[in-house]
């Protein structure tokens, strides 16, 4: 534990922790997305995915505990970094101009992060912390997304996740030192494509369930 605290006290140490947990979330997003895409295949396909998932039994709980741990670490480190960065410039510039490095994603990381946290809590209250003996997963989804405000809310939330990942993905490679002139365009490009896939793949589900299904 001592070595962890010793590394976490440094700026780069906290960044490494952000990068590893962020990578974990990105992998989770990918798996979650692939699973949810079964919704486009109709009710039967989706329910068979849910059954297969639940057949994993204790593995699911391991994953849940892992994700929760990662979430706490990512959020706490992110907030510490954000707070320290505010402290690092006590007197602000009168004129702020971007030189061309900053992007929508990079400039909003802490804000999109906090919004994601709020979204995840609501999302879990909607779909996870409910009585599953009364209704199937599919019934919950169609009930939720028959309410138009929910459709709008989920689609916007997923776009915010995509904005976070549009910077986070390449940033995590840079933080872990896994960057090189030859790979940089590929890593950046993949990050953008991945976040677009997240936005389109997840974002269209509520619309699809409400208007098309």
């Amino acid at each position: 534990m001592n070595w962890f605290i010793e590394i976490f006290r440094t700026s780069i140490g906290k960044k490494i922790v952000m990068a590893i947990t962020g990578l974990g979330f990105s992998l989770f997003l990918l798996i979650h997305l692939i699973g949810n895409l079964t919704l486009y295949g109709g009710k039967e396909l989706f329910m068979s995915y849910v059954e297969h998932l639940h057949a994993l039994g204790p593995l699911i709980h391991v994953a849940e505990v892992g994700l929760l741990t990662f979430a706490i670490i990512h959020v706490v480190s992110g907030l510490i970094l954000f707070w320290q960065n505010l402290q690092a410039r006590p007197i602000r510039y009168k004129i702020n101009k971007r030189a061309g490095g900053r992007t929508l994603g990079s400039a909003t990381m802490p804000y999109t992060g906090v919004l994601i946290l709020i979204f995840v809590v609501i999302h879990l209250l909607n779909f996870h912390f409910i009585d599953h003996s009364l209704q199937t997963a599919f019934q919950v989804i169609s009930a939720t997304f028959s309410v138009l405000p929910y459709v709008v809310f989920y689609t916007i939330a997923v776009i915010i996740v995509a904005i976070h990942v549009s910077h986070g993905f390449w940033s995590l490679f840079q933080t872990l030192g896994a960057n090189h002139a030859n790979y940089m365009p590929a890593i950046k490009g993949f990050g953008i494509i991945f976040s677009l896939l997240v936005a389109a793949g997840f974002g269209f589900i509520p619309v699809y369930v409400n208007f098309i299904m």
Binding site: T10, K15, I16, Q84, N85, Q87, K94, A99, R102, S106
Partner: protein
């Protein structure tokens, strides 16, 4: 040849020694030759101020040829002004249009306390170098060429990192006031060469911890520094710094 002249309105940060708060003061720079550098333009304004017994604007400078790293100010929100890979002393007035208003502010960072007007104390950067930015053996005489084979690309990359003049524009331009570009240049110039390897791990651990202690912010890969750096130091050096740090901490 008669060169073109322009008139400008300046809004300059004024703060006297020991004063807690400063403010933007307006000055008019008249008949400024477009062939002047930015610092020469301030010289002209200062001469006028001196003539009317006002305190001239304090600013740092030395070589005035873009190699020493002493000069620097944030001009209209851009560190060293808007020209690419240019120090303030090498920024020429031809890049400004007649009648323009120019806002001039000092580097802003908790780690760079303000001394006076546009002058800030950048000794935090020296402290980081003192923590490990050196090789602790005598270099001796120049060795025979190629006695120590170093691939050309490696030597070039090290040399490009060594171009850092320690001006602090990266800190000023960083939304988090992080000094990672500076530190990464100083780490890279040694880490890439065989002479720097033996102390590599110790060096990166000491320099990063000193950087944190000085009160700089944390890098969040915004990459503004790379765009503003007058010497074109690449953020790939920051990836190398992170790599060196990871290797050092986990071995």
């Amino acid at each position: 040849m008669i060169s073109k002249s322009i008139n400008l309105t300046l809004k300059v940060w004024r703060q006297s020694r020991g004063e807690k708060k400063g403010h933007l003061e307006t000055y008019y720079a008249k008949d400024i030759s477009v062939d002047m550098s930015f610092l020469e333009m301030i010289d002209v304004v200062n001469e006028d101020l001196t003539k009317i017994h006002k305190e001239p604007i304090a600013f740092d400078h030395d070589c005035r040829e873009g190699i020493c790293g002493m000069c620097g100010a944030v001009v209209n929100g851009r560190a060293h002004g808007h020209e690419k890979e240019t120090t303030l002393c090498q920024l020429h007035m031809r890049h400004f249009s007649d009648g323009a208003t120019i806002v001039i502010e000092p580097w802003r960072s908790r780690a760079f306390p303000l001394i006076k007007d546009l002058v800030v104390d950048r000794s935090a950067l020296d402290k980081i170098i003192q923590a490990g930015g050196f090789i602790s053996v005598n270099a001796g005489g120049a060795p025979d060429a190629n006695a120590l084979p170093i691939p050309r690309e490696v030597a070039e990359t090290a040399f490009n990192a060594a171009a850092c003049i320690g001006c602090g524009a990266c800190v000023a331009a960083c939304p988090n006031a992080s000094a990672m570009l500076f530190v990464s240049a100083k780490i890279s110039q040694l880490a890439l060469l065989p002479q720097g390897r033996p102390e590599g791990a110790k060096r990166v651990q000491a320099m990063v911890r000193q950087m944190d202690e000085c009160g700089f912010g944390n890098c969040s890969n915004e990459t503004e520094c790379e765009v503003e750096c007058p010497k074109g130091i690449s953020i790939l050096n920051i990836a190398r710094l992170n790599r060196e740090f990871l290797k050092a901490e986990f071995s």
